[in-house]
């Protein structure tokens, strides 16, 4: 099965870490990216670059900022292959954000 691991964190948390801590965590993120069971993923940066788009009656409405103003925002994701939910939960637990105040949402990918 495939799972999306959605990484939520608070704005400004990353900047609170020292350079050495950031480097160590970046290496952990890269290690997950390099795992053969990781099929994709992205670092989505912070909300200041987000643009929200809606189409009403054929008219495109574009606004600055995220879809919803929340404390925790989607900062990135992985798409992984796992035998079952337990395996996906274990990978989620290795994501640095999970143990530094962030939250990982594990979502099975629906097969069509």
């Amino acid at each position: 099965m495939q799972y999306a691991l959605l990484i939520y964190g608070a704005e400004g948390r990353w900047e609170q870490f020292s350079e050495a801590e950031q480097q160590a965590m970046t290496e952990q993120y890269m290690a997950i990216s390099r795992d053969p069971k990781t099929k994709g993923g992205a670092d989505l940066g912070d909300l200041s670059k987000a643009t929200t788009v809606r189409v009403n009656n054929g008219k495109t409405l574009t606004t600055d900022g995220p879809f919803a103003e929340t404390k925790e925002y989607l900062g990135g994701f992985y798409l992984i292959e796992a035998d079952n939910l337990d395996e996906a939960i274990e990978v989620a637990g290795k994501i640095p954000a999970a143990r530094t105040g962030g939250t990982i949402e594990v979502r099975p990918v629906v097969e069509h």
Binding site: A82, D83, N84, L85, D86, I89
Partner: protein, 424 residues
């Protein structure tokens, strides 16, 4: 309604034959005994709770037609597996759109069934228990699913026990079963590195079932014995399936000791009777003896085991004055060391109050942090103040407990005590 794998289902289409009144009592007992074992085997093959339950319901319906006529087979479990398997094959063959059709048929074909066999059906109930209590399911869904799949209770019975409408309970069960399938919750006993954490979850769910029966946070009746019985039945099953697990034995012993006091806790008018005021002649001696035997087999430290030991000390005091409070304090010391929590501190303080003096207990209670909204803290304070003759302060604490307590039986107990201290 079409579920994601393409099997069309109408809720209520598979009649709940187990308790429909169609089966004789003897047959119902057979079905009840075989239910979880057969269901676990079918889920193991099909990887799908709904498909497995439908197949088993069909097999039971067939059994209801044939067994009264042809006699009950020697090995009813094996018969039910074989019949459910054949029924599932027919059912899946008819489905054109089922995504996993080929795979499912292959797996069913590989399931060796021999309804003439003397061998019991291989026991996969432990996998079933761990899957039902998977932390990816909400606790109320874990409870409902465990009672349904492992306990064999009907949706109606579970809804009644938890005082929710039957449709709500039905939806809760369906959602849980589909999440297990669609989110890939594995059907297995967790591997070694996950086992301690997952076993804790299983024990917590079984204790929750027991406590819902024993304390009943919402019910007008204080004790709903059927849930206590069911929790004990499930804990016994777990202790049989995990014979070397001290906490499985500890939990079972704890339930047995509590349950021995079930009838003594409630007065004829439904009000609560505290431990020290109970008629100890009403305590169920068989339950206590059973608790002793189970506890003697539990080796190693564990929070349930220690709590069971505490309950055992109470069970063996022929009157309140003979309670070995110093021993209880020792056990609470062990519990605080093993699993510190404000609630354990509170219980320890109450035990010290009994072993030494109310004032000593009070000063400990006042040092506990984080329990200001916990009604039992205020109830314990009130009780110690009352014992120490400080009636006005006791009244204030009973009022605070009343603000926070929800169980009507416990509330009326606090009201009585409040009236008592108010008169002095």
């Amino acid at each position: 309604m079409t579920s994601q794998n393409g099997i069309k289902r109408t809720p209520g289409q598979s009649p709940d034959v187990l308790h429909s009144g169609v089966a004789s009592e003897r047959l119902e007992t057979v079905f009840r005994e075989e239910w979880s074992r057969v269901l676990a085997t079918l889920i193991g093959v099909l990887g799908d709770f709904e498909l497995a339950e439908d197949a088993l319901q069909d097999a039971i319906a067939t059994a209801l037609e044939r067994w009264p006529r042809d006699g009950t087979p020697d090995n009813p479990g094996a018969w039910l597996v074989a019949t459910a398997r054949n029924g599932a094959i027919d059912r899946i063959r008819r489905e054109r759109t089922l995504a996993r059709k080929t795979e499912l048929l292959q797996r069913l074909a590989e399931l060796e069934t021999d309804d003439d066999s003397d061998e019991p059906v291989p026991d996969e109930r432990l996998s079933l228990i761990f899957t039902c209590c998977h932390p990816a399911l909400a606790p109320e869904a874990q409870v409902a699913l465990t009672l349904r799949a492992v306990g064999g209770l009907t949706t109606t019975e579970i809804a009644r026990a938890f005082l929710v409408p039957e449709t709500t309970m039905g939806q809760r069960l369906v959602r849980a079963k589909r999440k297990i399938r669609d989110a890939g919750v594995p059907f297995r006993v967790p591997p070694e590195h996950l086992l301690p954490e997952r076993l804790d979850a299983v024990l917590a769910i079984l204790y929750l079932v027991f406590n819902e029966g024993y304390v009943g946070t919402t019910a007008g009746r204080l004790v709903r014995g059927d849930l206590c019985e069911e929790a004990i039945r499930l804990a016994k099953l777990l202790a049989v399936l995990m014979p070397d697990e001290p906490e499985a034995l500890g939990l079972l012993a704890l339930m047995l000791f509590h349950d021995s006091r079930r009838t003594a806790r409630i007065a004829a008018d439904g009000s609560l009777i505290l431990l020290e005021d109970q008629d100890r002649g009403l305590w169920n001696r068989d339950r206590i003896a059973e608790g002793d035997r189970v506890l003697a087999r539990a080796r190693g430290l564990g929070t349930y085991r220690i709590q069971a030991e505490i309950a055992a000390v109470h069970a063996h005091a022929d009157r309140p004055a003979n309670t070995d409070w110093p021993r209880i304090v020792e056990l609470y010391d062990e519990l605080v060391a093993l699993a510190p929590s404000p609630v354990v501190e509170l219980n320890r303080a109450a035990a010290i109050a009994m072993a030494e003096s109310p004032d000593r207990g009070l000063s400990l209670i006042d040092r506990i942090e984080g329990l200001d909204d916990y009604y039992l803290l205020h109830a314990a304070r009130a009780d110690l103040l009352r014992r120490g003759g400080r009636h006005e302060e006791a009244a204030a604490s009973y009022r605070r407990a009343l603000e926070l307590a929800t169980n009507p039986v416990e509330r009326s107990f606090f009201e009585r005590r409040l009236a008592e201290v108010g008169q002095r």
